[in-house]
Amino acid sequence: MNEIHWTLGKKLVGSFAVAAITVFIVATFGYRSTANLIENNRLVDHSHEVRQALARLSDDLINAETGQRGYVITGQDSFLEPYNTALLDVEKSFVLVRNLTADNQAQQRRLDQVRPLMDAKLAELALPIDLRRAQGLEAAQKFISMGQGKRTMDQLRRILADMDQEELDLLARRNADAEASAGAAKTAIILGSILGIVFIAVLGSFISVSLTRQIGKAVGHIQSSSMELQAAANQQTTGVREQSTSMAEISTTTSELLAASRQIAETARRVAQLSGETSQAAGLGDQTVQKANESVAAIRRQTDLIVAHMLDLAKKSQQIGGILEIVNELSEQTNILSINASIEAAGAGETGRRFAVVAEEIRKLAERVGASTKEIRNLVEEVRAAVNTTIMATEGGAKAAEVGTKQFEALTTSFHSIVLSVARSAEGAREIELSTKQQTLAVEQMNTAMSGVAQATRETEASSAQTLQTSKELSQLSHMLARLVRTEVRV
């Protein structure tokens, strides 16, 4: 079965709402019963008032008749006092009765019958008084003995008795209604109170169990949280102490940094001055590099010219080599011819001896030519090798000059860049100088701020100690609360 997870406020509000509804219902029933009872009591009182008014009206008529009879008997005016008083009060009593029974038609109709009878009775009472005063006792007795007054008075008594009986009946009914209302009110109050007590007891038990459980859980959480808070406060205290130590070190370091920043600012000022001088020197160097670049270009042109001449020389050396091959071949063929001539001369015997000498001379000459050709070939080869070496060296020089030119161009570009960079460096150095001054100011401000932070850290350290103390007290409080809640649970 799923438990309804209501908050403490919801549970309290719900419980009090149920109790309030119960009280409201009971109060409503009680109020209605009490109102009925009050109304019935009022109606009972009203009935009593009507009966008193009827009794007073009857008394007034009787008092009037009593005064009239006393005067008739005695002839003394003092006996007319009840008669005169009744004449004054009887009309008031009649009006009172009519007003009190205005909501009762039957009583009104009876009063309509009473009115002429009452007027006739008052007129019948006044006539014997006049007769007594004017003609004496006998005339008055004679008139009274006729019995007219008695009959009128009897009718009035009967009608007033009916009206009183009517009121008595109403009174009886209203008393019964009042008793019924009082009983209903009592029942409502007793049952409502019992139901309210039962509801409140059940709800109180439910809320008590639920709150005990919830508060127990909450207290458990508070216990664990307070322990964690205590541990955290311990750590915080330790951390804040370390932070305080670190802040002191930082403050010292910041002071050193401030001194270093001032020194850097001074150095930056010198660097800016040196950068300005370097920028001027770099401008002169840039002009020198431009001139050197032009000289390197001239060297490169001369080197190209040398290479062209050397290539031409190599070509001609090659042509000389070709010619020497032909000369060598000629000398070789001449040598062969001389050998063959010697052979032929040897075959010719004595006649060929002198021809053999000439052939030998030709052979020697051919051999010399061959040897000379070899030497020339060697020399030409050496020249060609030298030319090739020179060409290669010159080409290497040309390439080196070209590379040098490019490098010099790069150097020029670099130097130009260097000049620009030096100018920018000078500008940058001035900016650094300015920035370093600002930095020094910032470090001073930071130093001040660090002092404030160090002070705040010390205050935080004190606050952490206070937090630790508070967490300990909270832990003790949670233990006490837990014991309290467990005791209630056992109960």
Partner: protein, 171 residues
């Protein structure tokens, strides 16, 4: 005093000196030799055995079971068989055909091919000595040894070389 001469001055001096020398006849008791080289070793052929010396002639190769036989060559209006002198003397056969040719003066006419021509020599009888035995194929085919020009050259003869060819074919 004696400053080094340039090659041109030396050539000029040799050339002028050659005309200043007296004409000399070949020695009566000597012989003219054709100096040549095989595998860097000096050899010589007697000029009297040679009919003609040629260089760079066109040689037509022919198939043969003998490695020393190179082919045929047209020389002096004749078609002559050509034998490799180096192979006959036991040198390894070169990949290139020898450039120089020397044809025999006596019958039958044939020719020898060799790598390098080393000039002509004049030797007196004092310069010759008999060949020694047990010196390999060159020593066996030499008819004499000639010590001239700073070298000791085996002197070869067409006749003995031809006998060697025949003996080799017979074997």
């Amino acid at each position: 005093m004696n400053e080094p001469q340039s090659p041109a001055q030396r050539l000029r001096a040799d050339f002028d000196g050659a005309y200043a020398e007296a004409l000399r006849s070949p020695p009566e008791d000597g012989a003219n030799l054709l100096a040549l080289k095989l595998g860097g070793d000096p050899y010589a052929l007697r000029m009297g055995d040679i009919a003609r010396v040629m260089a760079g002639s066109v040689l037509v190769p022919l198939p043969s079971k003998t490695a020393a036989f190179l082919g045929l060559v047209g020389l002096g209006g004749e078609i002559l068989p050509v034998w490799d002198l180096g192979s006959l003397l036991g040198y390894p056969r070169s990949r290139h055909t020898p450039r120089w040719l020397a044809s025999s003066a006596g019958a039958p006419h044939w020719a020898l091919a060799f790598e390098a021509f080393d000039g002509t020599l004049k030797a007196s009888l004092r310069d010759f000595s008999p060949p020694y035995s047990g010196g390999g194929p060159a020593a066996a085919l030499a008819v004499a040894l000639c010590a001239t020009g700073g070298h000791l050259r085996p002197v070869l003869s067409f006749e003995k070389l031809l006998q060697s060819i025949h003996q080799g074919e017979l074997r």
